[in-house]
Symmetry: C2
Subunit: 329 residues, 2 copies
C-alpha cells in the first residue's frame, strides 16, 4: 500500500458516552414482547476521540455533525482523503467526534415505533424520519445549480457524489421530537467541561448546538466554530447574547450563496446576511466574532460540505490558524 | 493526562462504505413531504479502520458486532480500557470495524415507518425494533445469575454495567426484515476481497455473518473467529460445509454456560454443544476448526461480552496467537 502521509502518532484513541437517562419500558415498547419489560438507557451521546502524542498539545476540538449525517462527516472524505479529524490531530489538537443523540451510535428510544406497530399508539404520534435525497442534497448543499450539474468552479469531488449519498443517517427521535431541549446540548456542555475546556465546532443543523451548549454552562467553552449554521440574532435572549461575548466565535460560509436551494422558502444568502448581523451585534456587545468567507480570500466554489471539498484542508487550515491565534486555554 | 501506553503509531486510519443500492422513494417515505421524492442509498455498510505503521504487517481482521450493539463493541471497554481494535493494531493487524447494515452509521431506509405514520401502510407492516433491557442483558450475557448479582468469579467490570447499557443501538430493518439475505453478508464478502484476504471475526447475532460471507465468495476469507455465535450444523448445506473446510475456524465461548439465560427457550450450553458437533464435523470433512474455551485453560468467569471483560486482552491474546499460528495469507 502506498504511504500517503507520515505516520499518525497517537497518545490515545477510543470512545465513550456522555449523559443518558435510565428509563423503564414495556415489553411491547422494546420490540420483542416475550423478552419482557425492563430498563434501558436513552439520550446518551456517543463520543470517539484521538489524542496526538506531542509535547505541543493544543486545545481539544469537539466536532458536531449536521442533519442527515453522523460523526463520519469529520472522517475520511467521500473520495478517500484525510478528514478534518485527522488534520486537527496532526496539528496538535485532541479531536472529539460525536454522533447526535438518537442517531447512529448514540442509539435511540424505539418505544413509540413499537407502540404504533402494536396498535397502542396513533400512527401520527410516531416521529417523521427524514432522509435527504441525492437530488435535494445536490442543490441544498450547493454542488451545482441542478441535479447532476456541478458549478464550473465547484470544490466538491463530484465523481464521489454517490459515496456522499451513503453518509445519510436519519435521526430517530431528536429532530422532530417531543417539546424540550435536544439532549445533545447538555451532553456537549458536559463534554467540554470534562475536557477542561474545548472549542466546539458545529455544522449546519448542528451549527447551533455549540451555542446551545454554551448557554447551559459557558465554563468549558473556549471558542465556537459555526459552519453554515446556528449564528442568527432571531430569538436570542439578552442573557444568551451576553454568554456569546465570553469567547471567540468563527463563522464559516462557502460559495454560491445565491444558488437555488431546492428547499421551499430556504435561502443560504439570507442566513449569511443574518450571520453578518449576528457578528456585528456580538462585537457591539463586547464580543469577538468573525466571518471566514473564502471568496473574500479569492477562493471560490466551496460547498456546504466544505470538510469534503477538494480544498478541505485549506479551509481546515484557516480554522486551525484562527483557533491558535484567538482561543485562550 | 497520565500516559497509559506507548504511543499508537498508525500508517493510516479512516472510514468508508461498502456496497449500497440506489433506490427511489416517495416524498412521504422520506419524512418531509415538502422536500419532494427522489433517490437515496440503502444497504451500504459503514467501515472504519486503523492500519499500523509497522514492517511486520499481519493479516487484516474484520470485526462484526452482535445484536443490539454497534461497531463500538470493539472499541474502548465500558470501564475505559483498550478495546480489541487497538490491541490487534498494536500487534500488527490492520483492523476493520463495521456497523451492520441498517444500524448506527450504516444508516437505514425510513420508508416503511413514514408510510405507516401517514396511514399509507398498516402499522403491522413496520418492523419490530428490538432493544435489550439491562435486566435481560445481565442474564443473557451472563454477568450473573439474576439482575444486579454478579457471579463471584465474573470477569465483567460490573461497576461499569451502566455504561454497557449505553452501547445499545437497535436495528431498523435488517434483524426482522423482508425475506432475503442480510445485505451485510455480501458487504463483508466484498470487503474481505478488497483487502486481498482477511480474518472475519463475528460476535453473537453477528457470529454467523463471517460464515455467510464465505458462502458468497470464500476467496477473501483466510480464517474465521466465531465468538458465541454462528457455528452450528443445523441447516448447513453440503456446499456450505465444503466451503467451511477451506480455511481455519476458531470458536470461542465464555464461562457459566448453564446459567439461566433469561430468554425463553434459549440455552447457551446447547449452542456450545452444537458448536462442538460443528467442529467435529468440519474436521471430519478435512477442515480445521477449534474451540477456545477459557475454563479449559483454568480461566473462569468470562461473559458473553468477553471483549469488555477484565481479562479481555488475555482472551484477545489467545485469538491473536491462533491467527498468527493458523492463518495463511
Amino acid at each position: 500500500m502506498e504511504k500517503k502521509h507520515l505516520p499518525l502518532v497517537l497518545e490515545e484513541q477510543g470512545s465513550f458516552f456522555i449523559g443518558g437517562e435510565r428509563v423503564e419500558r414495556t415489553a411491547i415498547e422494546l420490540g420483542i414482547p416475550a423478552f419482557g419489560a425492563g430498563h434501558i438507557t436513552i439520550n446518551q451521546m456517543y463520543v470517539e476521540y484521538m489524542i496526538p502524542a506531542t509535547e505541543d498539545r493544543r486545545i481539544p476540538v469537539i466536532m458536531v455533525h449536521g442533519g442527515t449525517l453522523s460523526g463520519q462527516s469529520w472522517k475520511t472524505t467521500p473520495d478517500g482523503r484525510m478528514g478534518w479529524d485527522e488534520y486537527f490531530v496532526r496539528n496538535g489538537h485532541p479531536v472529539y467526534i460525536i454522533d447526535q443523540v438518537s442517531r447512529a451510535r448514540s442509539g435511540f428510544d424505539p418505544a413509540v415505533y413499537n407502540n404504533v406497530r402494536e396498535g397502542l399508539a396513533e400512527p401520527s404520534s410516531q416521529y417523521s424520519i427524514f432522509r435527504s435525497t441525492d437530488e435535494l442534497t445536490w442543490k441544498a448543499w450547493r454542488l451545482g445549480p441542478s441535479y447532476g450539474v456541478p458549478f464550473d468552479d465547484t470544490q466538491f469531488p463530484v465523481d464521489a457524489a454517490g459515496e456522499l449519498s451513503k453518509y445519510n443517517v436519519a435521526d430517530l427521535n431528536a429532530m422532530f421530537p417531543a417539546p424540550g431541549p435536544n439532549p445533545t446540548y447538555s451532553a456537549l456542555s458536559r463534554l467540554a467541561l470534562q475536557l477542561g475546556g474545548a472549542v466546539l465546532m458545529g455544522h449546519s443543523q448542528g451549527g447551533a448546538f455549540p451555542m446551545q451548549a454554551s448557554y447551559i454552562n459557558p465554563e468549558g467553552v473556549k471558542g465556537l466554530v459555526l459552519i453554515e449554521g446556528g449564528a442568527a440574532l432571531n430569538g436570542l435572549t439578552d442573557q444568551q447574547l451576553a454568554t456569546l461575548t465570553k469567547f471567540p466565535i468563527l463563522n464559516v460560509y462557502g460559495d454560491h450563496l445565491d444558488a437555488e436551494s431546492g428547499v421551499p422558502g430556504f435561502s443560504r444568502r439570507a442566513l449569511f446576511d443574518g450571520c453578518l448581523d449576528f457578528i456585528e451585534k456580538i462585537n457591539a456587545e463586547g464580543g469577538h466574532a468573525q466571518m471566514l468567507y473564502p471568496p473574500d480570500l479569492g477562493i471560490f466554489g466551496n460547498t456546504h460540505m466544505m470538510m469534503f471539498d477538494k480544498n478541505s484542508l485549506t479551509i481546515a487550515g484557516f480554522i486551525k490558524d484562527w483557533i491558535d491565534n484567538n482561543v485562550q486555554l
